[in-house]
């Protein structure tokens, strides 16, 4: 229920034990290392980055290998597998994994080699297929494409642009070289190109070449093989590449069962790299090294016992000095701890502040419930969270907390849903009327239905808001008293209590206000008068003390008057709680809308089917949008209205030196 007290720990030990001690501390994960010892001639920091780089490089290779495995043989994962959390392994498994690490690294290299060849084969296939298509027009040619003629003749094999016929080629020759003796064979022709084989006498070769050039002739791709044969060999090569690829794929898949070994290696290398990084921050002499850091006070004694019994060392723990920047760790009971992430995303408790998780938890779930306020939605939400919490025992701490948060919010939603008579909106009524012929069916609200009496609900929201705000103010008073600033507490809190509280009671004694809020009671006039007096005393107090940091009285009063003006802030804070009503109404009105839409198709079988479809889609949409809205606005009411009264934050999170692994969790005692 509070911020965990920290001890500042200094350990001096022998360098020969350095590796073991650092590993021990890493597995324990209770110390945040922070070395403040200045370097001198004896004690200095060592640069460990070279060793660390080696680990990181090897880890990179292992990650690549794991990626290869995941693309070739993807792990079968359920929809909710992300919730399962890391596997826990025992000491023996850990030790075994370490002895096997060289073998695993070889395994990684093998996987990467296989993948490299796989990539080569994959690239080869389209390349050869391209060659195959390029060969297609030459298939009727029964000589090698590189054939250049016999002893007395010259031969040219190649393409002319466009679709040509024997005549059109003859015509062009007639224009360019009318008396050239030649023989032209058209091998194939398509709209893009015409493949020809031209033969002439050897002495005419230059003229022929020139004429062909002017006709934009392009020589065929050189190849010493007859096209048909080359096609065969290419096809064979492609076939082989495909088979090889298949084989490689199988080989990689065969290695997939050893995936866990690689995952272990990645975790192991991460831990080693982290350790090296930490060792780099330590002060060391040739024989001795120092470890400095913060340890939660409750873990301190155990840590000392375990360390001193295992190693020769000096272990010193002391309370941190008042001005030290001590890291913050929150610890709460099961009811309040789900709110820790919510607090953390605002800001952790700063110096001299207390952990607001518990106070916040008194309101948070209830406000969420008021905003979503539908029993069925609450049952769905709480049910889903409870199922996940029971099914996945090994969930990571962070996920577990948010699941619990929504479980409690869901329960609050169920309660408020029954209080205000909403179960999928007015679904019981609509179903009863449309399908069962009972127009008076419906879920009776335990309290009242806000949609029939919104003003009453609004008054209730203001009451909740007032309690919330006053709790915040009370918390501020508590902080002042705890820090010994009693006078400040009176000036900044008690006067405000008097002013705001007095004003509220005074207003409640006015008939106009109670009528407006439809309250069935009214404060007696005497109480109203007394309240007014109290409010005025409060206001005067604020005028005189609100600007007390100024020495000049003129300035001080002016500042005090401005401080009293802050009462308008309370008005707007209070109005802000009307969102409880607005969001609650939004949920129920929109669900009624969908129920109505669903029932428009009438009773009967077809009507029932349409109703179910509209019902499922509509309510799925409504629950998603309104749960999001409720979450956002509950947070806002805490952050802005509530924390604004007493909480600043600014603490630094406790980040223990621990095994930040991705796949495995190591048991405490290894």
């Amino acid at each position: 229920m509070a911020v965990v007290p920290m001890k500042r720990v200094t350990i001096a030990a022998l360098r020969k034990d350095r590796k073991k001690i650092m590993e021990f501390l890493q597995r324990r994960g209770v110390i945040e290392l922070q070395n403040n010892i200045p370097e001198d001639e004896v004690f200095r920091k060592y640069d460990m980055s070279a060793g660390r780089q080696t680990f990181l490089r090897n880890r990179g290779r292992a990650e690549q290998a794991l990626n290869v495995l995941n693309t070739h043989a993807p792990e079968e994962k359920g929809l909710l597998s992300g919730l399962e959390g890391r596997k826990t392994i025992t000491l023996e498994e850990y030790e075994k994994g370490i002895t096997e690490r060289n073998a695993t690294q070889e395994l990684c290299s093998r996987i990467l080699d296989l993948d490299k060849e796989y990539a080569e084969q994959s690239a080869k296939i389209p390349r050869e297929e391209l060659e195959l298509t390029a060969l297609e027009p030459w298939m009727s040619f029964d000589l090698p494409l590189s054939f250049s003629g016999t002893r007395t003749t010259s031969a040219f094999t190649g393409t002319l642009p466009g679709q040509q016929t024997q005549e059109s080629i003859e015509l062009q020759f007639a224009e360019l070289e009318p008396d050239l003796k030649k023989d032209i064979t058209i091998l194939s022709s398509s709209p893009e190109q015409t493949c020809i084989f031209a033969v002439c006498e050897k002495e005419d070769s230059a003229r022929m070449k020139d004429a062909l050039r002017r006709m934009n002739f392009a020589a065929a791709p050189l190849s010493s093989q007859v096209p048909a044969e080359e096609k065969k060999s290419l096809e064979k090569s492609i076939e082989e590449a495909k088979k090889r690829k298949e084989k490689l794929h199988e080989q990689i898949c065969e290695l997939a069962p050893r995936r866990e070994k690689i995952e272990f290696l990645i975790d192991y290398l991460t831990m080693r790299a982290d350790k090296y990084e930490m060792i780099g921050t330590l002060s060391q002499s040739s024989r001795v090294f120092f470890v400095e850091g913060y340890v939660p006070a409750r873990s301190c004694e155990q840590l000392e016992k375990d360390l001193v019994s295992r190693f020769d060392m000096v272990f010193e723990a002391e309370d941190p000095a008042a001005d030290e920047d001590v890291p913050v760790l929150m610890r709460n009971n099961g009811y309040s701890s789900p709110l820790e992430p919510v607090i953390e995303s605002y800001s952790l408790p700063g110096k001299g502040e207390f952990d607001p998780s518990f106070l916040t938890s008194l309101f948070y779930y209830a406000m969420f419930g008021l905003m979503l306020s539908d029993a069925a939605y609450g049952i769905l939400m709480a049910g889903a969270c409870a199922f996940v919490l029971i099914k996945f025992k090994n969930m990571e701490a962070g996920t577990r907390k948010s699941m619990k948060l929504f479980l409690y919010c869901g329960i609050a939603t169920i309660i408020s849903g029954f209080l205000f008579g909403s179960f999928f909106g007015d679904a019981p009524h609509v179903i009863g009327e449309t399908f069962l012929g009972k127009p008076d069916a419906g879920l009776k609200a335990l309290w009242f239905e806000p949609i029939n009496d919104p003003i009453r609900m609004l008054s209730f929201c203001f009451l909740v808001g007032l309690i919330h705000l006053f709790t915040g103010l009370g918390a501020k008073l508590y902080v002042y008293i705890k820090n010994g600033q009693i006078l400040d507490g009176i000036y900044d809190v008690v006067f405000w209590f008097m002013l705001v509280g007095g004003a509220v009671f005074y207003l409640l004694s006015m008939e106009m206000i109670t009528n407006m809020l439809r309250l069935n009671f009214i404060m007696p006039a005497a109480v109203g008068k007394a309240a007014a007096v109290i409010a005025i005393i409060g206001a005067v107090g604020i005028v005189f003390t609100g600007g007390r940091e100024s020495r000049n009285w003129g300035k001080r009063i002016a500042k005090g008057l401005y401080a009293v003006y802050g009462v308008t802030g309370y008005l707007s804070d209070l109005l802000s709680y009307s969102r409880l009503l607005a969001l609650g109404l939004a949920t129920s009105v929109i669900s009624s809308l969908f129920n109505k839409m669903g029932s428009m198709f009438g009773g009967g079988f077809f009507g029932a089917i349409m109703f179910v479809i509209v019902f499922l889609i509509g309510h799925a949409l409504n629950i998603a949008i309104n749960a999001l809205g409720a979450y956002v606005h509950t947070n806002r009411l805490q952050y802005v209205e509530f924390f604004g009264k007493f909480y600043e934050g600014g603490g630094r999170k406790f980040r223990p030196y621990q095994a930040t692994t991705k796949y495995f969790k190591f048991k405490e005692d290894i």
């Binding site: 919104p454 009105v589 952050y639």
Partner: protein, 160 residues
């Protein structure tokens, strides 16, 4: 011309759904562009930026809500459609707050969401705070919604 009151009331309902819906679509659209940009760089931020994108969407829902309540009260969804001109005008007036505030706050909240998405892209750990900035804008939509709701619920009891 006997049913002119009904026409005005229906115009009011339509305006509530229309303008608030427009505001939300502009806001959600702008935020969606920014969100898509962030996801292009870092896919793991998807769920966070999606939440931020949806925040300006509530105005449209509030508009729908007012339109629906009005329509069910004036008898569009079954029932009689008789009412005086004054009552119709009263409904029309009651719909105006959420119509106009919905339009403007939807757009403004969209801009705040775009900035919040940028904040999350730079520092995902600030998500909690990033969510609050757009939610501040929404306060005014909620206040307008409240006025519209309270007014509409009060109209049937008026003798005009």
């Amino acid at each position: 011309m006997a049913n002119l009151g009904f026409v005005f009331a229906l115009i009011g309902a339509a305006a509530a759904a229309l303008f608030a819906g427009m505001g939300s679509s502009i806001g959600v659209g702008r935020a969606g562009q920014a969100a898509a940009g962030v996801v292009a760089e870092d896919g793991s931020q998807f769920s966070k930026v999606l939440i931020l994108q949806l925040l300006p969407g509530t105005q449209g829902i509030y508009g729908l809500l007012i339109a629906f309540i009005t329509m069910s009260q004036i008898g569009v969804l079954g029932g009689s459609a008789d009412m005086s001109l004054a009552k119709g005008l009263a409904y029309f007036a009651a719909c105006l707050p959420i119509a106009f505030v919905g339009l403007v706050s939807g757009m403004a909240q969209g801009n705040a969401s775009v900035a919040a998405i940028g904040l999350v892209a730079k520092d995902p750990s600030q998500f909690g705070k990033a969510m609050i900035f757009p939610a501040m804008v929404e306060t005014y939509a909620i206040l307008a919604l409240l006025v519209s709701i309270l007014a509409i619920f009060a109209i049937p009891g008026l003798t005009i």
